[in-house]
Amino acid sequence: MSERVITYAEAIREAIGQAMESDPSVFMLGEDIGVYGGAFGVSGDLYHRFGEERVRDTPISEMGIVGAAVGAALVGMKPIVEIQFSDFTAHAMDQIVNQAAKIHFMLGGELSVPMVLRAPSGSGTGAAAQHSQSLETWFAHVPGLKVVLPSSPMEAKGLLLSAIDDPNPVIVLEHKLLYKTSGHVPEEMYKTPIGVARVLREGKDLTIVATGVMVSRSLEAAAQLSQMGIEATVIDPRTLSPLDMGPINDSISQTGRVMLVQEAPKHVGFIAEIAARISEGPAIYSLTEPVKRLCGMDVPIPYAPQLEKAVVPQLPDIVSGAQDLMRGV
């Protein structure tokens, strides 16, 4: 029997549709998610299947709609907010950080905010600096938020179903370049646990830890490296908060070399946390080379295609980064 293959966008839509079918408290709200089907086509036909009450188009007011989701969640609904581009979460940081993330703790534990916030993240579409950021670092740093970055259709569905089920606010940063990529996704509802990293490939020479769109890029790089006789382990943390260091530490104890790959600017980016944890031990004792970070440049994302490509790690950068690490340069 051949495995069913669907796109990342379809996987997300399927997860939402199944959750809405099985739980009447689940609903969606966001800009242009109705008849338009979502800026990236994610909500698609959900509007036609579930109607305008549960697939709720909103005026352009990110703070308001995230706040509305917080309020609905507080009284027992399970809202899924779509923010059209993750960059626009900048408008909703108060509701995300000062409200959603803190309410359960700050108000003493009786109330909670079972809300999911999904947003397309990342560069690569020529949309320039205000539509291309990778802002996971902000959210991962905030106690009270869980943060997941699905890197494949399979993860997209499973992580989203976990997020919807979670009684806490979960930020799901999807990657624009992944929406049209395909992969096997089971039809039934299944959950990918939040807080568990995934080892995608095992190799003895070096450990690559990558997030978001860098995961598939790193896997491709690993395949090329393998042709050159370099065998890389590739690990996707999947969840940035909480972070599962187990497989990363284990792998480094085998390989002694680690390269951390993220699209976001390097300075004070999420991946520094992994470097920091390694530096605190135990993995530091296994290192035969310093840690290597391969990250976005510390610049806003430019428009021109050649500039945009230049500022985030591309396949050849990952390959040559790994080669450099193997050569100790």
Partner: protein, 336 residues
């Protein structure tokens, strides 16, 4: 546990016409006043920590509004939230315990004055962010609509909050979705030190409702009856699916904005003038004048409420301090 008689609407007409409703309202006014005078005193004596914002002078707003609500209705509140919390029916001991940073406080000592919430009475929480509760109220109202309940949500906020983007976005959402929410602005003429005369050009904050094609009314916020009546109308509209209303309650805070306020921005004359319009005394006098209560009965109520506050303090002080050991495990609700 220290509580007062829950507010209840009059059988018909005004709160001050109906004995049971009027007595409960008087209790509420007094409880807010005495609760806050007590914490003000404890603060001054160094027995309390942090900062706090008192509603002394504004008690009629919360009281008049909550008299029009059911326990299953919801509210969102503000940094100046004791009055809303009490009027919605909170346990005074747990409130006091929270201010005293006790394990038995509403927030287990994690929130303090600015974050008291009470799931049981539908209080979705005070809020340290000006206007932060307004979109949340819209969302709670959206949930009522989706769940097809006939509960309503009241969002309390100040005059200053109406200059925040959150106010605008939330009112617009409530308007276009016909949500069962009532926006109650306590216009006490200042956002911290900045007067409404300087922070906005409209004469009346209720004029802002027109931007959302929503009814807007202005009432005397020191008059329980006036506040109740406006709220009742708005609640009726909301329960009937006719959407939101903005109610402006004009009032005044007698005390400074917070403990650190030197009151440089308003005159003694202005403060004294407003003290003559004190909502608590005014309502008590009205009831006696109307013959709803005798002076003796009023004194008795006063004494009872004082005792409740004293009990609240005693009980709260006896409670254990909040516990650092449980902090790390309290950030997230456990996943089933």
């Amino acid at each position: 546990m220290a509580t007062i008689t829950p507010l209840l609407p009059p059988a018909a007409g005004k709160v001050s016409d109906d004995k049971a409703s009027a007595m409960a309202a008087l209790e509420s006014l007094l409880a807010i006043r005495f609760f806050e005078e007590a914490v003000d005193g404890m603060f001054a004596r160094g027995l309390m920590h942090g900062t706090m914002h008192l509603s002394i002078g504004q008690e009629a707003v919360a009281t008049g509004v909550c008299a029009a609500l059911r326990q299953t209705d919801f509210i969102t509140s503000t940094h100046r939230g004791h009055s809303h919390c009490i009027a919605k029916g909170a346990d005074l001991t747990r409130m006091m315990a929270e201010l005293l940073a006790k394990q038995t406080g509403y927030c287990r000592g994690r929130g303090g004055s600015m974050h008291i919430a009470d799931a049981k009475t539908g209080n979705l929480g005070a809020n340290g962010i000006v206007a932060g509760g307004i979109p949340i109220a819209a969302g709670a109202a959206l949930a009522q609509k989706l769940k097809k309940t006939d509960n309503v949500v009241v969002s309390f906020f100040g005059d200053g909050a109406t200059n925040e983007g959150a106010f605008h976005e939330a009112l617009n959402l409530a308007s276009v979705w016909d949500l069962p929410v009532i926006f109650v602005c306590e216009n006490n003429k200042y956002g911290m030190s900045f007067s409404t005369a300087k922070s906005m050009k409209v004469e009346r904050i209720s004029e802002r409702a027109a931007a959302y094609a929503m009814p807007g009314v202005t009432v005397d916020g020191n008059d329980v009856d006036a506040v109740y009546e406006a709220t009742k109308q708005a609640v009726d509209r909301a329960r009937a699916g006719q959407g939101p209303t903005l109610i402006e309650c004009v009032t005044y805070r007698h005390k400074g904005h917070s403990k650190s306020d030197k009151n440089l921005y308003r005159t003694k004359e202005e403060i004294d003038f407003w003290k003559t319009k004190d909502p608590v005394g005014k309502f008590e006098t009205l009831l006696i004048e109307k013959g709803i209560l005798t002076k003796e009965q009023a004194e008795q109520i006063t004494e009872n409420v004082r005792n409740e506050i004293r009990n609240a303090i005693t009980e709260a002080q006896a409670a254990p301090d909040s516990d650092p050991a449980e902090l790390l495990s309290s950030v997230f609700r456990a996943v089933n």
